[in-house]
Symmetry: D2
């Protein structure tokens, strides 16, 4: 099957590039399943139900999140009625919403998606490795799911690569989010799991991680906040990947970057 994963959508610019281009991408790339990380979709901070609806209307089957998941307080409520919106699975028991789900793709395949947060340089949550071990034991690739996708929302490349190797041969795709910069290390790991340290953001790259440069730069220089962080409003780049899996095994046969528009160098899958 053919999976599209798009990185953290940041603010209005990010939403525009996703909403305008995702439907065409799904057609062109004959995608069976689409996952979008939406943790920064609402003004850079969190996600509203209206934006969630826009993303799913544009073709997202699942929307993942990260440390910003609760920045819009309404997410604590509407996540309960939107099973296709995931928050990191390693929040404590009792947290609203779910961190993993089994979803049906356009081609009828069952896709398990797990959203998890890393701990290195990140807020304290439960162990992400233990969480994934339990998820995959409960629903293994093959018997439980036709594809397994893990969005590891994390800072450190070491932790993301460790998760990739930990799940190599047991997941279809382990992909990082959170740094808002795409990496160039997309590869199929030795045992068949597609991997990329960070898929990058869908947003304006003439910015500091999607935000208007002024305030972040001011804080680095003066160490004194002088205003809010606001999303940069220039033309956004869409940043994502296409992963093709073997229907027999659920493992990956290819992973290719998608970068369209804005300031990133463009690239498009050949598969």
């Amino acid at each position: 099957m053919r999976l599209i994963f798009l990185g953290d959508v940041v603010g209005r610019s990010g939403r525009e590039v996703v909403l305008s281009r995702l439907p065409g991408l799904i057609d062109t790339l004959e995608a069976d399943f689409v996952i979008v990380n939406g943790e920064n979709a609402a003004g850079g901070f969190g996600i509203t139900e209206a934006i969630y609806d826009d993303l799913t209307d544009a073709g997202a089957d699942v929307v993942t999140t990260g440390n910003h998941v609760w920045d819009q307080r309404e997410a604590l409520v509407f996540i309960e009625r939107t099973p296709n919106l995931l928050r990191p699975v390693n929040f404590p028991a009792g947290t609203p919403g779910r961190g993993a789900g089994l979803f049906e793709a356009r081609n009828g395949a069952r896709v398990m998606v797990v959203n998890v947060m890393g701990l290195v340089f990140m807020p304290a949550l439960d162990d992400p490795f233990g969480a994934l071990e339990r998820q995959i034991e409960a629903c293994p690739l093959g018997s439980g799911a036709d594809a397994i996708v893990v969005d590891i929302h994390a800072e450190a490349t070491s932790e993301k690569q460790a998760m990739g190797h930990f799940l190599d041969g047991r997941a279809s795709l382990v992909v990082g989010t959170h740094t808002h910069v795409p990496t160039a290390d997309h590869m199929v790991l030795p045992d068949g799991t597609a991997y990329m340290s960070d898929v990058g953001m869908c947003g304006d790259y003439d910015s500091i991680i999607g935000m208007n440069k002024d305030e972040p730069l001011n804080r680095f220089l003066t160490k004194i906040p002088s205003g809010r962080f606001e999303p940069a409003l220039g033309e956004a780049s869409l940043s994502g990947i296409l992963v093709v899996t073997d229907d027999a095994t659920g493992l990956a046969t290819s992973i290719e970057p998608i970068r369209l528009g804005g300031r990133l160098s463009e690239t498009f899958p050949r598969s």
Copy 2:
């Protein structure tokens, strides 16, 4: 002029790919100046004088470092007699060696190279923005140097991007090192500075940031160290960039990734 920058060389595999391929690269790309980050060249930890000599023999004009600079204690001594080896400029006054220098390129041009460490999720050092302000004031692009290259050795994409925008129009290249993963956001910023969040490592990418996977994975899973970190010994990828600058202004006209060998997808400059 034409500059090559290669990211953190990790262990023997990393050294082999650099030593074997750099001379040919310099020829093919008609490079005027070559910078290599060597902080992990000696078994993953620091750099020895013998390895420094090998890197310069292979064509490196300057070797930069980072948080691992002193892992081999001999570096505290031989850095004093090797002006082309830089340690981060924002160590305290009195630290052995230098953090910046003005060097002559093959074409006679004067290249200022500054090595600096970020502070976000990194050890405490002096302010990198203040340090660069002072360096560039003392030796501005044009009057003081024909090209200025900044190696910002840092974890967070936000801090690296902030440095890029802070120096945009005042440096030829701001390039990140330290995460050991190349990013795909190479671009010329609006005012003419070439930028890339991380140039990646020269090392074996079937690894955890260049290290044999076993011990890092063990630590993530058990939280108990059970051995040393050892470099991975598989075939390495060379990961770097080619930056072309305008001789009149010292600003960049292009930045293109170089990725050769090993598990990374290969790419080669067209300029």
Copy 3:
């Protein structure tokens, strides 16, 4: 009942003051149960079986630890045959040893001791609050144990105070360790739990957290390691507390500091 708790024993000086004075303290204070944090007992780093035996011979009923628990690798082995040695309970499942136990005091009472690590500014482990909730649910004060003592090995005062209030009325004592400095906030919380943010170390206070000042100071000043950390060898202070509980409820009626010898101002319980 009457409980003594002594803070992190650091190196030879720390052991000497504990071994020489604990037996007399137990007599004088008519202590029913003694807990000693031993994570730095072996040269400042970890604990050996010989040292563990010395501490229990001197009267310790339970030895707790913290982030340094595995610094002496033999601890991974002998902890399995020494049920009175605890490591933090929030290590992953499968970690050698135990993080909690039910022990019999000299007066026949059952004392549950839990050793847990905080997460703020500390290595990533499982959630300490969830861990304590489970422990106390399984063995509540009154029906399950006559006294419950929690050693929260943590950096931040906020997290330690949060644990105190979280368990107020459900534990006999919540006491912090790890900062190696005694606090002066010993108090019985509103619902009857004795609390102190940090009990301090048993070690030489003419030092930097028990270590010879030279190398820590060198690192703060130069940012370059130039040697090992070695315990300070001057006269140690013993630093601990006496907690008296109501036999009917298991809750605390008093908590008083004990500080003897060395450079700390001396103080002794009046209860």
Copy 4:
């Protein structure tokens, strides 16, 4: 001379205990100079000019701060006209206000006060050790000042102790603030500098570092913010020290804790 130092005043409860008791304390203890850390005086976050005026009216000669200094934005303005309000000296050049000053005590003596922030587990600022070296070189004890007081606003006991030993014999007092818990390690260091790792807060100790327990506890348990932090409103403890110096040398002859009211055990200087 006789110096009083009071720790972080937190919210209305903290202000009340300071405003009501400081005038009497100054009389009783015959204090020549009074320093109060006011970084949390305004609702727990920062300081307003009205509150600053109240503190100086009650007898504070100097008000120091810390990481919360700019939480009330008006501080950026009024600090310029209030030389007796200090912000940490290791903010970047160009920061409003001053980090050190030379003040005249009631007895005519010149007191240099330096406010500095530590870097361990704290926001990135300039090196505190280098900053103090420069301050004390410019104004040494004896020739430049009759007493020197350093408020090191920091998290880690190691860094505070390192500063104490770094300045031992060169300052009258090195005292920590920020953790909001008084330590019991007040001592005169070997070369004559009075030292205490943390002087504690002036605030309600039935709290989490001075804040109403509910929201901090909620965040530790759920990892989801659900409201603002508000100061606890119960009866506050005043927490401070009295330091007596030798007029001939400016070095300390004694340091004694002051703890009055609220939930802390009370103690009062005998000197």
